[in-house]
């Protein structure tokens, strides 16, 4: 995939398919340490140790539950190309954490890309999931939690056109401020 934000969207969709009700996405850009770390934690159904081992195999998929397909092997390959790695920690019934690390300045590192569109795609999911998002760039931080947003909205869904517009501007502005 051309952008890290597409890998991120794909991983977020995995959490959705795993039945998560809450996902935390942290993007940490530390230019001093020359590291880019992406962490996605969900409270979905999780996987046992055997499944975790096979998840990075591109020829493995759980088709029936549609938990994982080609997505994670592609994400792992992207990280490994850039002096990084991808790790998965999971526990049945508790959830999964996927962490990908990259050398920030690596020539093969895909750009983060359009994180705004990835977040919006995820937030407009048919089955809404709460997202806690944290993006840190050298100490500056943009953070939001859709649980706070939903508390203000009551029964009005995030996909309502007026809310969607608000979210779109809110995310653009937040990302702009940490650039």
């Amino acid at each position: 995939m051309r952008e890290l934000s597409l890998h991120i969207l794909d991983a977020l969709e995995n959490s959705l398919e795993a039945g998560a009700s809450r996902v935390t996405l942290t993007i940490e850009e530390d230019l001093t340490a020359d590291r880019l770390t992406i962490t996605i934690t969900d409270n979905g159904r999780g996987m046992d140790a055997e499944t975790v081992k096979t998840v990075l195999d591109p020829f493995f998929t759980t088709r029936t539950t549609r938990h994982v397909g080609l997505g994670l092997p592609l994400f792992a390959a992207a990280a490994k190309r850039c002096n990084g790695d991808l790790t998965i920690e999971s526990e049945v019934g508790r959830g999964t954490t996927v962490q990908a690390t990259f050398q920030h300045s690596h020539i093969d590192r895909a750009p983060l890309g359009d994180i705004h569109d990835s977040l919006l795609s995820f937030l407009l999911a048919e089955r809404p999931v709460d997202l806690h998002y944290v993006h840190r760039v050298n100490g500056r931080q943009f953070e939001f939690d859709t649980a706070d947003i939903r508390a203000e909205l009551g029964d009005v869904p995030l996909s309502h056109p007026a809310v969607r517009e608000w979210l779109s501007e809110f995310i653009s502005e937040g990302e702009r401020e940490i650039k």
Binding site: E17, L120, S121, L153, H160, P161, V163, W166, E173
Partner: protein, 124 residues
């Protein structure tokens, strides 16, 4: 937290939205974009972006949602359009440059773009 956009805006949006939400569910339009690995790799996020842009430009009030893989991976990006009282139409291989015509024909003129259709569901 961004300064201009604040959570306080949401109260106003909520009050306005609650007035029309019931009407919207009965008569409205919902556009669904497939967002599984297959869809994402085929450019579904960009297609969704183009749809949101076109709706904004033409001031069309439609719900847009995303779903995971629905099984027709080779036809991604897949876009479903559902309007009250009409069959649900699934369009395949919808790339951003096709979106303006799709919105114009289907949503504005009410014509199904036959050559892009890959599925059709009529609800009782």
């Amino acid at each position: 937290m961004p300064k201009v956009k604040s959570l306080a805006d949401l109260k106003r949006i909520r009050e306005e939205a609650q007035k029309d939400i019931k009407v919207r569910l009965k008569t409205g339009t919902t556009i669904t974009v497939g967002m599984g690995t297959c869809g994402i790799a085929a450019g579904a996020r960009e297609t969704m972006h183009a749809i949101l842009e076109e709706l904004r430009k033409r001031e069309i009030d439609a719900h847009v949602t995303t779903v995971g893989c629905i099984g027709m991976c080779s036809k991604e990006p897949l876009v479903d359009i559902e309007q009250a009282g009409h069959p649900r139409i699934t369009y395949g291989n919808v790339h951003p440059d096709m979106v303006p015509r799709l919105i114009e024909e289907h949503l504005i003129k009410g014509n199904v773009v036959q050559e892009w259709v890959v599925g059709r569901v009529t609800r009782d």
